[in-house]
Amino acid sequence: MIAFWVLAPVMVIAALGILFVRKAVHAALLLAVVMISLAMLYAALEAPFLFAVQIIVYTGAIMMLFLFVLMLVGVDASDSVVETIRGQRVLAVMVGGIFAVLLGVIVGQAGIGTAVGLGAANEGGNIEGLAEVLFSQYVLAFEATAALLITAALGAMVLAHRERLVPRETQADRAAARVRAYGEHGDHLGPLAAPGVYARHNAVDTPALLPDGSPAEQSVPTVISNRGTGRPSPSYRDVDRVVGQLQSRRDDQDPATDTVVEGSGSAARGEDA
């Protein structure tokens, strides 16, 4: 009885917490509190097997599944608190409260004496006693649970699994298609240039420049070029000028590669500003 009076308030508060916390993760952790407290109650009621199963199956397996699902959904996911039917929440709380009070009063009237029959039930071992019940009077219910589990598995497949209409494209398929395109249309076989290579900017909307100074249109992601926000190629004509400057500077001075690069960089920046 002591165990009950210690655990019951904890469980009730945790269970109420499940209802009132906003974040699903907190609710799941509070549920774990309820489950572990239940397990302790089972232990106090001389049901060691149920105690172990409660911990292993519920707290261990099912809780972890809950948490995995929450991780997939997002730990910060919280319920929408918008009421679709006006006044529904107030009404629900009122009716639920009346029901809870009613139930509490009525069940509270029942003088629940000390538990009897525990000794008889556990005579010959707790697990043996359970097995006796499970495989005699409840054997059919036990077997029928199989139908329940199969239905659940089938249902999960029906609602969540999406079958492929076409086989998944493998890397080999993609490579073959590329070579075929090269053979038929002469499409570029190698990897595409990254945007911004040899150009003034290395932003993704700037096409790479080919060695002759013309922009490589394909180096810009198709999303950007389709949206029309890529930089138009004429703005790169100034490359010619930079090349010309470099040429003239090389004529004037002793050519030094690193200064050239620096010079071109600053010239480009200066023009841009």
Binding site: I106, A131, E132, S136, A147
Partner: protein, 535 residues
């Protein structure tokens, strides 16, 4: 504790139809795993068909061999350690359930009403409204796919229902309740057209159903606290002995009844019915509306009559209130409906009320006058008439179609009697039967439940029942009038010619509905022959 374990005596000779049904479902699951997609639909429906035929034959064979009990007042056996009771009412309900499921199966396999496409979604996991498949025209798509899992699910649901109305203890009853509910939740969400509505229906049904299951378990625990056993016969012994914590029994029984009344859609617990009936694929609605009610009333009858028969004066007043609310609520809300399936949903709620009226007719067998119909007999007969008419009427609603799916609005059915008198005529006959007009099965059913309730002194309930029947006649007949005595609109919906699958279902339901109205005797005798529950 015995050192030697002796297993319970399971009488396979009585239980084998049940196992045949579960076996069929398992074969269906295996077919789903191994058969190629193109062949699956045919194999699945044939497997289910053969399984149902075997179950029907088995039910008849079992019914013929039931041993008599209590000097012929009851027939049957308690088996599997008290978990299952195979008695007269059980086999009657088994037979009825299998017949209704055959109707459901035929509607499930129908392809011709929707331009050659199956009635279920091609791929339920696709977001609603998304086009099928990745490619354009000519590319492979999900459009002509079908979830063939529906056939094993249907058979699983049947197995759960058969176990539900046969269960002799509350634990088995609970497991059976879940077995029958889970497939139905799934099936509700698989409509091909109007996916969002269908998913919403499945979600609502699932959440509320899970909630009501919670009530069942809590109630079960309280009843155990009172009686020290979950066995209904054991509960009856404890009730007869009296004493103990009676409040536990009353609260526990009330909570178990909440779950059972939820399943049949009685009024304070009815709010799921219209949404689910409307959103679910019509083939599923037809099956669910009929079969769930049959199975759940079997369980209600067994729980109240066997377990709480001696506490009759404790539960009867409450059930009076529920029955009155259900009848009035059903018909009053049905009057304003503009959707065919919602209309039928509210009318099914009203029928739940009429059936509850019949349940109230419980009397001790000594109190029954000579030749008077017992309440059990009346309710069983009513379930038969209601089940057959329901499958028929929902089957007819699949035939009237707009481009986007079924023509759901009542207004769209205007003038249908002039363009397609056959379909409208069949619909009218089912409506008349549901309304309880003489010469249809519904009349005899209503008359028998009212008579048995009146015999047990539930006069006020019968008075309300007659009043609500009259209100119900108003909206049924109004619908018939708009079908036959108004001009069809310009863009009238198309009435498709279904394959023999649906035609046969409708035809058989029609014939049975009329035949039971003209010569109800044989089936009434059969229901009477079923006798009392075996404890």
């Amino acid at each position: 504790m015995n050192d030697e374990f002796t297993g319970p005596a399971i009488e396979w000779a009585r239980l084998w139809p049940l196992f045949a049904v579960f076996g069929t479902a398992l074969v269906g699951v295996a077919v789903e795993a191994f058969a190629p997609r193109s062949a699956r639909c045919l194999i699945q429906s044939s497997v289910a068909g053969v399984g149902l035929a075997v179950a029907l034959v088995g039910t008849v064979l079992v019914a013929l061999e039931l041993p008599e009990r209590a000097g012929g007042a009851a027939r049957g056996d308690v088996t599997a350690g008290g978990a299952v009771v195979v008695d007269g009412p059980t086999v009657f309900l088994w037979g009825l359930l299998v017949v209704v499921t055959v109707g459901g199966l035929l509607l499930f396999a129908e392809r011709r009403v929707d331009a050659g496409l199956p009635v279920f979604a091609g791929q339920a996991s696709l977001p609603p409204g998304s086009t099928a498949g990745p490619g354009g025209p000519g590319e492979p798509s999900y459009e002509d796919w079908e979830h063939t899992e529906v056939y094993p699910l249907l058979v699983f649901a049947l197995g759960g229902m058969m176990l539900f109305c046969a269960s002799g203890d509350l634990l088995t009853m609970f497991v059976a309740l879940e077995i029958l509910s889970l497939p139905l939740y799934l099936l509700c969400g698989l409509a091909r057209r109007r996916r969002l509505l269908s998913q919403e229906a499945a979600m609502k049904y699932f959440l509320l159903g899970a909630f009501s299951s919670g009530f069942f378990v809590y109630g079960m625990a309280l009843v155990y606290g009172y009686a020290g056993t979950l066995n209904l016969a054991g509960v009856a012994v404890a009730v007869r002995a009296g004493g103990g914590q009676e409040v536990l029994l009353l609260v526990g029984a009330a909570m178990v009844m909440v779950a059972l009344l939820f399943k049949v859609g009685a009024v304070p617990f009815h709010s799921w019915t219209p949404d689910v009936y409307q959103g679910a694929p019509t083939a599923v609605t037809a099956y669910m509306a009929a079969a769930t009610k049959i199975a759940a009333f079997g369980a209600i009858l067994r729980f109240l009559y066997v377990g709480l028969g001696d506490a009759r004066w404790d539960w009867a007043p409450l059930l009076w209130v529920v029955a009155i609310l259900t009848m009035l609520g059903g018909v009053v809300l049905a009057v304003g409906q503009t959707e065919i399936k919602r209309l039928l949903a509210y009318s099914s709620i009203a029928h739940t009320g009429f059936l509850l009226t019949g349940v109230l007719g419980l009397q001790a067998s000594g109190d029954l006058a000579e030749g008077q119909i017992s309440s059990l007999q009346a309710v069983l007969f009513y379930l038969a008439t209601y089940g057959v008419a329901t499958v028929g009427i929902f089957a007819v609603t699949t035939l009237v179609r707009d481009p986007g799916g079924e023509a759901g609005s009542v207004a769209r059915w205007t003038g249908l009697g002039r363009t397609s008198p056959l379909v409208a005529g069949a619909f009218a006959v089912f409506l008349l039967s549901l309304a309880g007009i003489p010469l249809t099965a519904g009349f005899v059913g209503k008359w028998s439940v009212f008579a048995s309730a009146a015999g047990a002194g539930a006069w006020p309930v019968v008075a309300v029942a007659i009043t609500s029947s009259i209100i119900a006649v108003y909206f049924y007949v109004r619908h018939i009038v708009t079908m036959f005595f108004a001009d069809p609109p310009e863009d009238a919906p198309v009435v498709v010619v279904p394959s023999p699958l649906t035609s046969v279902t409708i035809a058989v339901a029609l014939i049975v509905t009329v035949a039971l109205g003209v010569v109800p005797g044989p089936l009434l005798d059969l229901a009477g022959h079923a006798g009392q529950f075996v404890r």
